[in-house]
């Protein structure tokens, strides 16, 4: 290859055109040489307009977010505008974000998990029970909680991947099973942990936001890195996009599917630890109320960053988008019911928007 190859992309492309594209007429074939092969074409067909439009559709949700914030700010400048609002939005959702990432783990490979909220509940129940009632070392209690979560993931993977039972049925069942186990462990009483060092892990203030916010950011960014820049991540994306294509490319599809359930449960277990560190204790029966918000954020995330695809940064933004909407409504005086209604409607709207975005790319 020539020096120009390294100097800039356009010349590299030209060297391709001349080097590979136009071979000398084939001596073994009297087929007419393809005329188009030698004609030079514009280096690329993407225009600035295309690129802007693509950025526009990729980040449209951010625009909606800003509009929402401006409207809330205009309606109630005193209450809504201020750093405390930002702190309330970005400081409170870490456990939910971890949970959404757990859901995302299975969605990216085209699987489906409904049990992750219960796994979080189980993990969040085990820790206070072990450390407060049984006086176990807190770190050990966290480790045991994670092992329990791992077990949950193994059970899901066993039934869904190994035995081939439909994932909807299995995880609907295990969701209830894990919840039941959590209730058994807690004996229906809520125990709490009060340990300053432990809660500092989650709540220590850095630049105005608790540490847990940064954990979520690191988790999502790390997940995004894996999916985009690591071979295993690219394989995961292909398993999610078309399982047969992945199999015919030599990817061990079942191992990736099983792995997704196991990692999902582990992340849900981490969400449980984070939850205990932030609020001290947990009532397992409340776990199901975390299911829908997490799903809503995951689906909302498909409308942003990489439209039409499940992606971690989209989920990250989705969580805080939804929280902004709810916080605004709560400040306006709507309480209680508004959370359920907003998350429910948010899920439906998110899926609709995502599928519209997908259809638009099809016709573009």
């Amino acid at each position: 290859m020539t020096l120009s190859d390294q100097t800039n992309k356009t010349s590299a492309r030209e060297s391709v055109v001349h080097g590979i594209d136009a071979p000398p007429p084939d001596p073994n074939s009297d087929l007419p040489p393809s005329a188009v092969a030698v004609t030079a074409r514009p280096a690329t067909t993407t225009t600035t307009g295309d690129r802007l439009r693509s950025i526009g559709s990729r980040y449209a949700l951010i625009g909606v977010w800003i509009v929402m914030a401006v409207v809330y700010g205009a309606i109630m400048p005193d209450k809504f505008l201020g750093t405390s609002t930002a702190q309330a939005i970005f400081g409170s959702q870490s456990a939910l974000l971890f949970l959404a990432v757990a859901a995302l783990c299975t969605f990216v490979v085209g699987e489906f998990d409904l049990s992750f909220a219960s796994v979080m509940g189980l993990s969040a129940t085990i820790i206070p029970v072990l450390s407060t009632l049984h006086h176990l070392n807190l770190a050990l209690a966290c480790l045991i909680a994670l092992l329990a979560a791992l077990g949950c993931g193994l059970i899901n993977a066993l039934f869904i991947v190994k035995l081939g039972v439909p994932s909807l049925i299995v995880t609907l069942g295990t969701a209830s099973l894990f919840l039941g186990l959590a209730e058994l462990i807690s004996s229906s009483t809520i125990v709490s942990v009060s340990n300053k060092t432990f809660s500092d892990i989650a709540l220590h203030n850095v630049l105005g936001l608790p540490l847990s916010f940064y954990y979520g950011l690191i988790l999502c960014a790390g997940f995004a890195y894996v999916l985009t820049w690591m071979p295993i991540g690219r394989h995961i994306v292909f398993v999610g996009a078309n399982r047969e294509v992945a199999r015919l490319a030599g990817i061990n599809v079942d191992r990736i599917r099983a792995g997704s359930y196991i990692v999902a449960s582990l992340v849900a277990g981490l969400a449980g630890i984070l939850l205990v560190a932030t609020v001290g204790g947990f009532d397992p029966t409340a776990s199901s109320s975390y299911l829908l918000p997490a799903l809503a954020a995951v689906f909302l995330g498909t409308a942003i960053v990489m439209p039409g695809q499940f992606n971690p940064m989209g989920t990250f933004l989705g969580i805080y988008f939804l929280e902004t909407g709810i916080l605004g409504l709560q400040l306006l005086g709507y309480t209680g019911w508004v959370q359920d209604a907003f998350y429910g409607a948010g899920l439906v709207v998110a899926v609709t928007v995502a599928s519209l975005v997908r259809n638009r790319t099809r016709t573009a």
Binding site: P23, N28, P231, A241
Partner: protein, 517 residues
């Protein structure tokens, strides 16, 4: 023909899926009182045609659909067409085993009592009995369908289709409904079809079995690549061979010529021995680097399985492939084992098995190389982009944009991406299955050129195809598979010569199979 309007007349039927045209200007005319055959190989558009006739797919605008001279509204509304006299017997017959003959016949049209809308059992049984009598079938309406044998089941399915037709009217479409039958059972159903059409009803028989089409039909319509290859030809004027020739392609419209000089004989570097699968056995051959070897056979005789067995996509029951990179046991190697030996597959179904349509060109093309080129913790984008752009250029893929999604491309360009994906990996053996199916002439030429270029760069290419013209144009050597003799070198590699050999190889198979062995 008489002045009476035809029972079914469809004209100017076109159908496009996205950018792929699957039916082009198709017409079909079925007269009352005839058994009309519809022939064509897989992917020729037969099933799309039936799905349009029954309203599952809307046709492209401009089509024309008449039943007994009455224009049907398009897209087809099934209740309207059914009321006009069209009914279907599906491939799997659609019977419910746990119900009785009468219930199965009357499903979808139970006579009900006027007041409560309850099923009127007496009228139901009378309707079933009447229908069966009309067809000359002697069965108790109270029998459970589970206890019936294969021809009886087919009769029940046909009875259901005939239920609402006035005697002497209507058209039943048999969508490969007879494929589970053979010998006397098949004759029995044919006799029944004859009886039905004797009083003026019509039947449209879709079948892969050429002998059956010859035996029972009055006229035949043949499709090839979504176009008519024969419209309502009189069966009496045809032979099985002529039907096969029209299904597989004629000598007309050759777009490519064969390599002028046969390539110099190279020592074989790739050998396949003792390959057998679910439908094929005794497949053995060898080829050298730089050679393009074609494999073909009569559609449906099992040779379509060979590409998947060779590449580990489907486990073989026996067989070994040896390449310069090593020897692979095809019974348990799997895809990864074959990839390691440098054997790659370009599958037939690009939408289902070949490409991830929701991802972009660059991602699709670089997928097979990720493990080789990337480090476990990082795969660069630069080489992916470079590979994709090189592929876009060498195969003339348009638009020339590696970040466009595969689903946004035309069929021909998708097929080129699929080829590029595996060529970029630098295989030792490239196995392709129907790489030119449903692509336009230009893309077909580019693809065949690319195969020759790959061969010249030292790849052993195995092209498994039913397209005689492709094989004739691209291959150095063609093998014809038949169950009787395994793979045999084709003496002639002109398109016509190939079709003759495909047909003859299988003709000698059918005889020993008919006699008890």
């Amino acid at each position: 023909m008489s002045a009476d309007p035809a029972r079914l007349q469809v004209r100017a039927l076109n159908k496009t899926f996205g950018s792929v045209q699957v039916l082009t200007d198709v017409e079909l005319t079925v007269a009352g009182g005839e058994v009309h055959g519809l022939a064509g190989q897989n992917g020729s558009g037969k099933s799309t045609l039936i799905k349009i006739l029954t309203g599952l797919y809307p046709p492209d605008p401009g089509a024309d659909y008449h039943v007994d001279g009455r224009a049907m509204r398009l897209p087809v509304r099934w209740p309207e067409v059914h009321a006009a006299g069209i009914s279907v017997v599906h491939q799997d017959l659609g019977l419910l085993d746990q119900l009785t003959v009468a219930e199965n016949i009357c499903i979808g049209g139970f006579p009900t009592s006027r007041v409560l809308g309850r099923i009127d059992r007496n009228r139901r049984d009378r309707l079933a009995t009447r229908t069966l009598e009309r067809l000359g079938v002697e069965l108790d309406p109270a029998t459970l369908v589970a206890s019936l044998n294969a021809p009886e089941r087919a009769e029940i399915a046909i009875a259901r289709a005939m239920r609402d037709h006035a005697p002497g009217g209507g058209l039943i479409i048999l969508d490969e409904s007879t494929r589970a039958l053979s010998g006397d059972d098949l004759t029995r159903i044919h006799t029944m079809l004859r009886r039905i059409t004797a009083d003026g009803s019509a039947a449209l028989l879709i079948s892969h079995n050429l002998a059956e089409l010859m035996a029972v039909t009055d006229r035949i319509t043949i499709l090839r690549d979504g176009r008519l290859a024969g419209a309502g030809l009189r069966t009496a004027d045809l032979s099985e061979e002529e039907i096969a020739r029209r299904m597989l392609g004629s000598s007309l419209g050759q777009t490519m010529a064969r390599p002028a000089t046969p390539t110099t004989v190279k020592p074989p570097t790739v050998t396949v021995t003792g390959l057998a699968g679910r439908h094929v056995r005794d497949v053995e051959f060898a080829l050298g680097a730089g050679e393009i070897l074609g494999i073909t056979g009569l559609p449906g005789n099992g040779y379509e399985e060979i590409p998947y067995l060779l590449t580990g996509a489907q486990a073989a029951t026996s067989g070994v492939i040896t390449t310069p990179a090593g020897t692979v046991d095809l019974t348990r190697a799997g895809v990864l084992g074959c990839l390691r030996a440098g054997v790659v597959l370009v599958p037939e179904r690009r939408d289902r098995d070949g490409l991830a349509f929701e991802l972009n060109l660059r991602d699709n093309i670089s997928l097979p190389a990720l493990r080789q080129r990337g480090r476990p913790w990082f795969v660069g984008r630069a080489w992916q982009r470079h590979d994709a752009e090189a592929a876009l250029d060498s195969l003339d893929i348009r638009p020339r944009n590696p970040s466009i999604l595969v689903k946004q491309l035309s069929g021909g360009n998708q097929q080129k991406v699929l080829l590029a994906k595996w060529l970029t990996r630098g295989p030792a053996v490239l196995v392709l299955h129907e790489p030119t199916q449903a692509v336009d002439v230009g893309a077909r030429r580019d693809i065949l050129h690319a195969l020759r270029r790959a061969a010249n760069s030292g790849v052993a290419v195995i092209l498994i195809s039913s397209e005689a013209e492709d094989l004739a144009a691209a291959c150095d050597r063609v093998l014809v598979y038949s169950a009787a003799s395994g793979v045999v070198d084709a003496a002639s590699t002109t398109p016509d010569g190939l079709i003759d050999q495909i047909y003859q190889a299988d003709a000698c198979r059918t005889e020993p199979e008919g006699s008890p062995a």
